[in-house]
């Protein structure tokens, strides 16, 4: 009798690996559902920023920080589970969410939130990739180890997310009578735009998103122009 075409043990091996993989994805989905809820809640709170005068920021940001604390907890669970498996095998499942979570932290800290005794909050503070890692208590840009971490691409895409949000805030701040906020946002977005021009980009999602920054820049420039035309730029804040 000839050797059979297929070794009977092979089917079992292949099947069991596929089943394990399916189980992992199921569990990831559950963890990510939780994370997604916390992110959605926090983002919802942020929508109020466009109708909140700066004096009321501390109270609003306090609530946002609550949401962020829940995000950090979920990310911790994700990190613990996902670190058991090759990072790039499943990361497409959570990368958008991680970007959104990072965005909430970047926006909160930029608006002056999440201060500590060591480092009080201040308007205009941009967290670095490393600081984001500290907030979420995960490694960043991991190269020598295969575990959950935040990537450079995720940080950059999250940064672009808040550019859009801030360009909207610039306009609404003026409506609320806070013209110096608009000026500060304008300067920040222009600096970021210049920074993004330094990157060598390929034809990928990052490139597409970077291209969209110029619209935010224009939007804010228009706001500043409107203000300066009418001499509404506060003397202290203008160049």
């Amino acid at each position: 009798m000839a050797t059979p075409m297929i070794d009977p043990a092979l089917f079992e091996q292949l099947k069991s690996k596929i089943e394990t993989d399916t189980k992992i994805r199921k569990e990831l989905h559950q963890i990510l559902d939780d994370l997604n809820q916390h992110i959605a809640f926090t983002q919802g709170l942020f929508s109020r920023i466009h109708s909140t005068p700066r004096s009321k920021y501390p109270s609003l940001l306090g609530q946002v920080e609550e949401g962020i604390r829940k995000e950090i907890e979920s990310v911790g669970k994700l990190s613990q589970f996902a670190s058991q498996y090759p990072y790039y095998k499943y990361n497409h499942m959570w990368t958008r969410m991680i970007q959104d979570a990072i965005s909430t932290v970047l926006l909160c800290t930029w608006l002056g939130g999440m201060g500590s005794e060591a480092r009080p909050g201040e308007l205009g503070r941009l967290l670095t990739l490393e600081e984001i890692g500290e907030v979420f208590q995960v490694p960043v840009n991991l190269k020598d180890q295969d575990a959950f971490h935040v990537t450079i691409e995720e940080y950059l895409l999250a940064l672009i997310n808040i550019v859009d949000e801030l360009s909207r805030l610039a306009m609404n701040s003026v409506t609320l009578g806070d013209t110096s906020m608009a000026v500060q946002i304008s300067s920040f977005i222009k600096d970021l735009h210049a920074g993004f021009q330094i990157l060598n980009l390929k034809n990928d999602i990052l490139r597409k998103r970077v291209d969209s920054i110029k619209y935010a820049v224009k939007k804010v420039e228009d706001v500043i122009y409107d203000l300066s035309l009418r001499n509404l730029i506060p003397a202290k804040a203008s160049e």
Partner: protein, 300 residues
């Protein structure tokens, strides 16, 4: 070049040669510039690595396809390959070995899955190697053994130039290959690479069955056993394997697409087997079935 351009007054215009490269973007440095410069350097390194892997991958894919073309000239299964074909296959494998060795260091650990999309050559290589194994042994090589063969290829490729390249998988690496080969980084074959490669194998087996049944007048079958299996049964076994496996890959459409193609290949071979059985004795050797429709105007 004769002549030169003149301006409106008839004076010769100076040709200043090609424009100098555009001056580097004058960026006013701001507080975030150093950060972006660091991130740029990181991203550049990643893109460069991905490009290098992609280039080698395209070459491995092309070489694997050439191996498959060579193998399609074989006429028998369950036997050693004809010498000339084996020599062609070996020479392609030697080139593949060098290419794999060149990128192996860049796809270790976390980078293995990071650059998965750039390593599609592995699927094609699995197809070629499983096809070769089938022709020689009339069996499906299992994942572990195949992964070992691919690892050995990377090791061979790292060995110094003057080593004889053994036929991957059938002879052991010569002792003299030494430290360099033994410690060389290798490329891992994932289960996805293996399964998708075997899916594609069914396509090649179908082509092989079609060609050999037309040219030899019989369905390819094993040699010298009491109950030799034909390629029809082998295709059925492979088909059933995939029908019974749960779908892999987490929702992408690749599995479904490849399954559909495989089903068609199985059915084509089934039809060949049926034709042979019913009409085998009627057809002269070399006769190819007429696939045109019945109602054709008779040519004068």
């Amino acid at each position: 070049m004769v002549g030169f351009k003149r301006d409106y007054q008839g004076n010769a215009k100076k040709h200043h040669g090609p424009k100098p490269a555009a001056a580097p973007k004058s960026t006013m440095r701001n507080a975030y510039t150093p950060m972006f410069e660091r991130l740029r350097d990181e991203l550049d390194a990643h893109h460069d690595r991905r490009d290098r892997i992609g280039k080698a991958s395209r070459d491995v894919t092309a070489l694997s396809k050439k191996i498959i073309f060579s193998l399609q000239r074989v006429r028998q299964i369950d036997a050693s390959l004809p010498q000339d074909i084996q020599a062609e296959v070996d020479s392609r494998l030697a080139e593949i070995a060098k290419l794999l060795a060149s990128i192996a260091p860049e796809v270790q650990d976390i980078n293995r899955y990071r650059y998965s999309r750039s390593l599609v050559c592995l699927e094609e290589l699995v197809e070629a190697l499983t096809f070769s194994h089938y022709l020689k042994t009339q069996t499906l090589v299992d994942q572990a053994h195949l992964a070992q063969v691919v690892e050995d290829l990377a090791r061979q490729g790292a060995a110094p130039e003057d080593e004889v390249m053994a036929d991957a998988g059938t002879t052991p690496i010569p002792e003299q290959a030494g430290q360099v080969a033994a410690e060389a980084p290798v490329i891992g074959v994932t289960q996805e690479d293996y399964l998708y490669g075997v899916f594609d194998l069914t396509g090649e087996m179908m082509r092989f069955a079609t060609t050999t049944s037309a040219l030899t007048g019989q369905m390819a079958s094993g040699d010298g056993h009491d109950e030799p299996r034909t390629i029809v049964e082998d295709m059925h076994d492979l088909g059933s394997l995939f029908e019974m496996l749960p779908h892999a890959g987490g929702g992408n459409k690749t599995w479904e697409k490849k399954l559909e193609v495989m089903r068609q290949s199985v059915q084509k071979v089934e039809k060949l087997g049926y034709d042979r059985t019913i009409r085998g004795s009627e057809r002269p050797k070399g006769w190819i079935p007429d696939l045109t429709t019945d109602d054709q105007p008779n040519s004068p």
